[in-house]
């Protein structure tokens, strides 16, 4: 058809344009195909945070690892907003065909309680959990407190006298701080910042007394001897701070680590979930993943879909119960 147009002596450039237009048309049509044994076309992985952060890194890294096993490309797409609620409900609304996945941060267990969106682990097809990041309580190196007990004693002496910064109201590090208040029966004054790096900057600058942050976020300045870690708020010791005691060891049974996992919309056939879990398990076992976890201060922990589901439901129940109570505590 095109050659006939050319043959009719039409303007050459016009023909090129028409060819281009036709190509675009053809392409547009050809985009809607793709059936066969799963997976037969590219997977989309929706990340609930902006590029460059830990959720984004985990997703892109895992995406590139499972690509090899699945044999199809995995494309990450960032949909930040409302603590991740936008991305979670977006994925939950997609067709349950296993071609749209989401990164499941701890917020999947929180956003419903916060009232941002009606999604939670119960209406998702959870695949697996790949890492945990506990919180740490950090202070400046020259601070007068050398242990968690010192800090608690000081906070008890002057209720509300110590100032603690965190990544933002409603963030997981904020909840860790509230849990600490509850467990140790202390009161501190909160200064919320927009993100952990800003709260650490204000600690380094001497504007606040302490910060609760993720293990990896504080490591650079801890190693450089500018900050010290008083406690890891978790059950077991962190690989990054093997010398530092945990809150549980010290007799305070609290600590809510952040975690990273993956999910699909509810209703994805179990066979597909199993296939995905297998791919993620393979990626998890690679040395590259272990290295990334070490460098970013995450603990490599794997949970399969059943275990993860149970765990996530437990977390959702925990936060659903605790958050309203904790937030009244702050007032």
């Amino acid at each position: 058809m095109l050659s006939r147009m050319l043959g009719q002596g039409m303007n050459r450039r016009f023909a090129v344009v028409q060819a281009l237009a036709a190509a675009i048309l053809l392409f547009a049509v050809s985009c809607r195909h793709g059936d066969g044994p799963y997976p037969s076309k590219e997977l989309k992985l929706i990340v609930q945070a902006s590029p460059g952060g830990i959720s984004d890194t985990v997703s892109r890294f895992m995406g590139s690892l499972i690509e090899k096993d699945l044999g199809v490309p995995v494309v990450c797409e960032n949909k930040p907003g409302a603590s991740g609620a936008l991305a979670f409900s977006y994925v939950a609304r997609r067709a349950p065909d296993g071609y749209t996945l989401g990164h499941a941060s701890i917020e999947i267990a929180v956003v419903r309680t916060l009232g941002y969106a009606d999604v939670g682990p119960d209406n998702m097809g959870l695949i697996c959990l790949v890492s945990k990041t506990p919180a740490v309580l950090v202070v400046r190196e020259e601070a007068p407190w050398n242990s968690f007990e010192d800090f608690i004693a000081a906070a008890r002496k002057q209720r509300g006298g110590l100032i603690l910064a965190h990544a933002g109201t409603g963030s997981i590090w904020h909840f860790n701080a509230l849990l600490m208040e509850q467990a140790a029966d202390i009161r501190v004054t909160y200064v919320p910042y927009g993100g952990t790096s800003r709260s650490l900057a204000s600690l380094l600058g001497g504007h606040v007394d302490a910060v609760i942050a993720g293990t990896g976020e504080a490591i650079a300045n801890v190693k450089a001897g500018r900050l010290k870690v008083l406690a890891v708020l978790d059950e077991s010791r962190s690989q990054l701070y093997p010398e530092t005691p945990t809150s549980h060891e010290l007799g305070y049974n609290f600590g809510a680590p952040a975690w990273s996992g993956f999910f699909a919309p509810a209703g994805v056939p179990d066979a597909i979930l199993e296939r995905l879990e297998k791919a993620f398990r393979k990626g998890f076992a690679s040395s590259k993943w272990a290295r990334l976890c070490r460098e970013r201060g995450m603990e490599a922990v794997f949970m399969g879909r059943k275990e993860f589901r149970e765990f996530a439901l437990q977390e959702a129940a925990f936060f659903g119960r605790e958050i309203p109570q904790l937030l009244t505590l702050e007032r």
């Binding site: 902006s50 590029p51 892109r60 890294f61 941002y116 933002g168 409603g170 300045n221």
Partner: protein, 492 residues
């Protein structure tokens, strides 16, 4: 020291690294000059690609994008009054005016040259005074941030020209839009109308694309419809004359200095820095009247400051591991993936690597200068295409770029509404500069005032005089509000 310097240089002087650098600069120039694409996006999207190459090669590309995108953002600002990145908003004020006078070539030349001067100055500061700058930046607590933001807001009157009340109203509109979303302190939803899309507020970049992209298209249609066949504007010479160099020198270094320091302060970047630098250059200049109407000094200040912010942001990022702006936040992620932990130890244990970064940035800014100078002519000539084609392109890239930012349709609508509002405001002779200032500085001012008051336990007076920096900003704010009034009285 010398050994580290040499080691840093040799690590960079390899043809693979330099190729990656050049590719990065060109990609950055594309990202920067298209209004829908920003430097942050460019670095974020290309970060995964650098997983598979060496740290130097990957970093060469990413730094190339960073150093290429910011100067390139000035190109559309000058040629079509549409800033390519938020940092080049101030560049459009004088750049486009020059362009309309038939001196587009000169404006592009100055943009290329003085962007490089701004970058090199700030990189020099990074190399010799990283720690003093960083520790100064750390002294910025909530009260100091509030001071900086308040000072920035007080410039609203200055950037409004002779329409002060309208400008202030636009500023209030900007501040108002900035309050949409979760309250930064207590996470209490404000003006979200129950929509979770609005919880994080209205994104700044789509609004900017609307205000300056779509609105500009509508303005041009309104002003030039039926007169489209006018002769295309002249390009003129590119290289500034000796006298012009001399005239621009003071404002260039004012700009580079202010840019470096504002860039170094976490969460304040080239967008804020260039507006402040432009206004300061105006105050210090002997030809205040020319600013905003095609002043070379104004252009020099804005070009050098938004680029100076690059070195400043990198300083805080490398010395403290804390990002100085959005791009360096993404760069931290990239460095970590390559097993490099930015922070104080980097300067002790990997000094050669720090020098590598310094050299990479210096080379990138020089490559970009050459690209900018060589590209000036063809780019200006490309604008001779019929205006409707250009308009179609701006609308299209604006819409898709707004979407691509967060993959959110609500951002596209924000762009659309901002475009119509921006058009109506400009038709009513309301300046948009203050609106942008309000949008950028509103959240910074509010959240830091409230943080400062928590720290000061509600004591307003104590909080606002808590350090010399705060007092400095307070005095500067009062002066910047009073001086014009006093002067007017004396004149009148």
């Amino acid at each position: 020291m010398t050994a580290d310097l040499l080691a840093g240089l040799t690590a960079v002087l390899q043809w693979e690294v330099l190729t990656f650098l050049a590719v990065g600069v060109v990609l950055g120039a594309i990202f920067g000059s298209l209004p829908g694409l920003t430097a942050t996006m460019g670095v974020a999207v290309l970060t995964p690609l650098t997983f598979w190459v060496s740290a130097e090669q990957g970093l060469a590309m990413l730094l190339g994008i960073y150093c290429g995108a910011i100067p390139a953002g000035g190109i559309p600002a000058i040629l079509i009054n549409v800033p390519g990145t938020p940092a080049s908003i101030a560049t459009s004020w004088d750049g486009y005016a020059l362009s309309k006078k038939g001196q587009a070539g000169l404006a592009l030349g100055i943009n290329a040259l003085l962007s490089a001067v701004g970058q090199l100055t700030s990189i020099f500061f990074l190399a010799v005074a990283a720690f003093p700058i960083a520790s100064f930046a750390l002294r910025f607590g909530p009260a100091e941030y509030f001071g900086l933001a308040l000072f920035g807001i007080s410039l609203m009157a200055g950037v409004s020209g002779d329409r002060v009340i309208k400008g202030m109203l636009a500023g209030m509109l900007g501040l108002g839009i900035a309050t949409v979303g979760l309250d930064p302190m207590t996470a209490y939803p404000r003006y979200t109308f129950g929509q979770s899309e609005f919880l994080d507020g209205i994104s700044f970049v789509p609004v900017m694309i609307g205000l300056f992209g779509l609105a500009e298209v509508l303005i041009q249609i309104s002003d030039r419809w039926g007169k489209l066949d006018q002769a295309p504007s002249k390009l003129g010479r590119i290289w500034p004359a000796w006298m012009e160099w001399k005239r621009m020198l003071p404002s260039t270094f004012t700009g580079a200095g202010i840019g470096t320091f504002v860039g170094a302060v976490p969460a304040a970047g080239g967008d804020i820095g260039s507006v402040i630098a432009w206004e300061q250059a105006r105050r210090l200049s002997r030809n205040k009247e020319a600013f905003g109407k095609g002043s070379l000094e104004g252009l020099a200040a804005s070009c050098s400051s938004c680029n100076g912010a690059i070195g400043g942001a990198m300083t805080t990022m490398l010395t403290l591991g804390i990002p100085g702006d959005a791009v360096s936040a993404v760069l931290i992620g990239a460095l970590l993936i390559h097993g490099i932990q930015p922070g104080p130890l980097l300067f002790r244990d990997h000094r050669d690597f720090v020098f590598s970064i310094v050299f990479l940035m210096a080379f990138a800014s020089m490559v970009m200068m050459v690209v900018g100078l060589l590209g000036a002519k063809p780019l200006a000539r490309a604008l001779r295409i019929p205006s409707p084609w250009l308009w179609a392109g701006i609308v299209m890239f604006g819409a898709i770029g707004s979407y691509a930012l967060n993959n959110a349709v609500v951002d596209v609508w924000a762009m659309f509404v901002a475009g119509i509002v921006g058009f109506l405001l400009r038709k009513a002779d309301v300046p948009l500069g203050p609106l942008v200032l309000g949008l950028i500085l509103g959240p910074m001012m509010e959240s830091n005032l409230r943080r400062a008051l928590i720290l000061g336990r509600g004591d307003w007076l104590g909080t606002l005089t808590s350090s010399s920096i705060v007092v400095f900003f307070m005095v500067a704010t009062i002066l910047s509000l009073l001086l014009p009034l006093l002067k007017k009285r004396r004149a009148g």
